[in-house]
């Protein structure tokens, strides 16, 4: 309890906690879970966008999409590294992902059904992610905070790029505009749900706020996102699929219609449209790659043995 108080005091003083520092087990566990989920989300997130690499309608867009998907892999890599500073290995985390113990962001269990989705994901999904992540750049755990600074910088580039794709479609042929609107219709609510349950129903929030892992509540962040996004949609001439959405002068933000929490929990529980396919795709990659990873280890071992043999001569 004394230790807990001292720890809390450090956190309150905005001091960064570093890997070799003592920390409460709950703090460590919360971070491992959260950073792991975040890393998995980046990795699984490569799939829905990767689905359009081979069909991107121009070479410029194809290159940009490849670069984006690569960035996501990169984010995964440094987030796994951040989690590893807390004493868990990437292999362990991967196994938890593949056997369903670890979660990843539900948003990636929706399918990408048109090229417009590549724009919309950048605009809305990366946009929502940034809202969630910017406060994490000031997270009390040092390695996570530093990883997030880099992630956020790249994500906001992706967000602008996504918005620009949607803008090009919105100003394109009638078919392209319809494609953009259709995509917004499908991704709006899932994006809004990315901020999680309402504050009243959120489990992990209070302790995370106290430990400065989290700095804003779900509803606060959701409100910020909606307020930022509505004018963007208006600028594009697209309609947000929420008839109850309207400006509330009093609170200085938008009111929105009710969220379909049945849908939310269904997807969180792993019954999203592509849930099975996503995990199956990652599992296939992992299983098919086993002989490669084994060979790499075996070769490193042989090389080490040869070096020792030479040294011993």
């Amino acid at each position: 309890p004394e230790f807990l108080a001292a720890f809390q005091a450090r956190v309150d003083a905005e001091q960064k906690i570093e890997p070799n520092d003592d920390m409460p087990e709950g703090y460590r566990r919360t971070l491992v879970r959260q950073i792991g989920q975040h890393a998995h989300s980046e990795i699984v997130g490569m799939l829905p966008e990767g689905n359009w690499i081979t069909r991107a309608p121009s070479l410029r867009r194809k290159a940009a999409l490849l670069a984006k998907v690569q960035d996501e892999g990169g984010h995964g890599l440094y987030l796994y590294s951040a989690a590893e500073t807390l004493g868990v290995t990437r292999k362990q985390m991967t196994e938890e992902l593949l056997d369903g113990r670890a979660k990843y962001s539900s948003i990636f269990n929706y399918p990408t059904l048109s090229w417009a989705d590549i724009g919309t994901i950048g605009w809305l999904v990366d946009g929502a992610a940034i809202m969630n992540q910017i406060p994490l750049c000031r997270c009390s755990y040092g390695p996570y905070a530093r990883a997030m600074i880099r992630v956020c910088k790249e994500e906001s580039f992706h967000q602008r790029q996504g918005y620009e794709i949607v803008m090009t479609l919105a100003r394109g042929t009638p078919e392209q505009k319809a494609m953009a609107q259709d995509s917004l219709n499908r991704w709006w609510w899932p994006s809004i749900m990315m901020f999680g349950p309402h504050d009243a129903d959120s489990q992990h929030s209070d302790q995370s706020m106290a430990w400065k892992i989290k700095r804003f509540t779900n509803d606060e962040l959701r409100q910020k996102f909606i307020d930022a996004t509505v004018p963007q949609a208006e600028f594009l001439g697209l309609t947000i699929p929420d008839p109850e959405l309207k400006w509330n002068e009093e609170k200085g933000g938008y009111d929105h219609g009710p969220i379909d929490w049945d849908e939310f929990w269904r997807v969180v529980k792993g019954f999203g449209p592509c849930a099975r396919d996503r995990v199956a795709a990652r599992k296939k990659a992992w299983d098919d790659g086993e002989w490669v990873r084994e060979a790499a280890l075996a070769h490193a071992e042989k090389r080490r043995a040869r070096k020792l043999a030479v040294a011993a001569e």
């Binding site: 990795i43 799939l47 069909r55 070479l59 670069a67 690569q70 790659g289 990873r293 790499a296």
Partner: protein, 244 residues
Amino acid sequence: MPLFDALLELADDHLVLGHRVSEWCGHAPMLEEDLAMPNMALDMIGTARSLYDYAGQVEGKGRGEDDLAYLRSEREYRNLLLVERPNGDFAHTMLRQLYFAAFMHPYWTAALTSEDETIQGIAGKAVKEMAYHIRHAGEWVIRLGDGTEESARRMADAAEALSIYVGELFEEGAAEDVPALPRRADLRATWEATIAEVFDEAGMTFEPSKYPQSGGRDGRHGEQLGHMLAEMQSVHRAHPGATW
């Protein structure tokens, strides 16, 4: 137009191989390779874009990179058979990459002193990228060739399967009469030396094929290219004239 045709050949090589490599994205054996694959694909697609762009200028009919990439049929593509081969397993993919890069590196090196400044410029960027591809793919060929029994068997299968496509690398194609581009036949010795060095470390021997295949430069491809292009061009072709 020999220069136009020769640029298309080169561009198609890079786009098609870039496409193949990009198919690995999100499906690689380890996260590091999930990063390396799009990285290599980006290098090749970037080079393809510069080459198509220049080809369009040379042609002078207003065709841009996307017209050349998205609106030509399988029979109009002039890429090497090697680069269109399906990914197969990781051993096939890495050996294919090594074969290609071990050719393109000396090719771009020679092109650095081309009389054509645009080609010089493309070569300057590509030569560094191809050096990285040789290193990356070469290291994997060594690891797999000298790894486990299974990986050695798979690498040997890959070498057997791909050997018939090597000869075509050294055919001059449309560049026969283009002084601004290197002679391909002259690069065989360098290619063989690079491969010999890697294979030696991998415990393998390069066996040239008695019956090399060619035809890619005349648009006589394997059956897989058509499927690749059907997918690649689908959105573009479904919306004629649209801007993306």
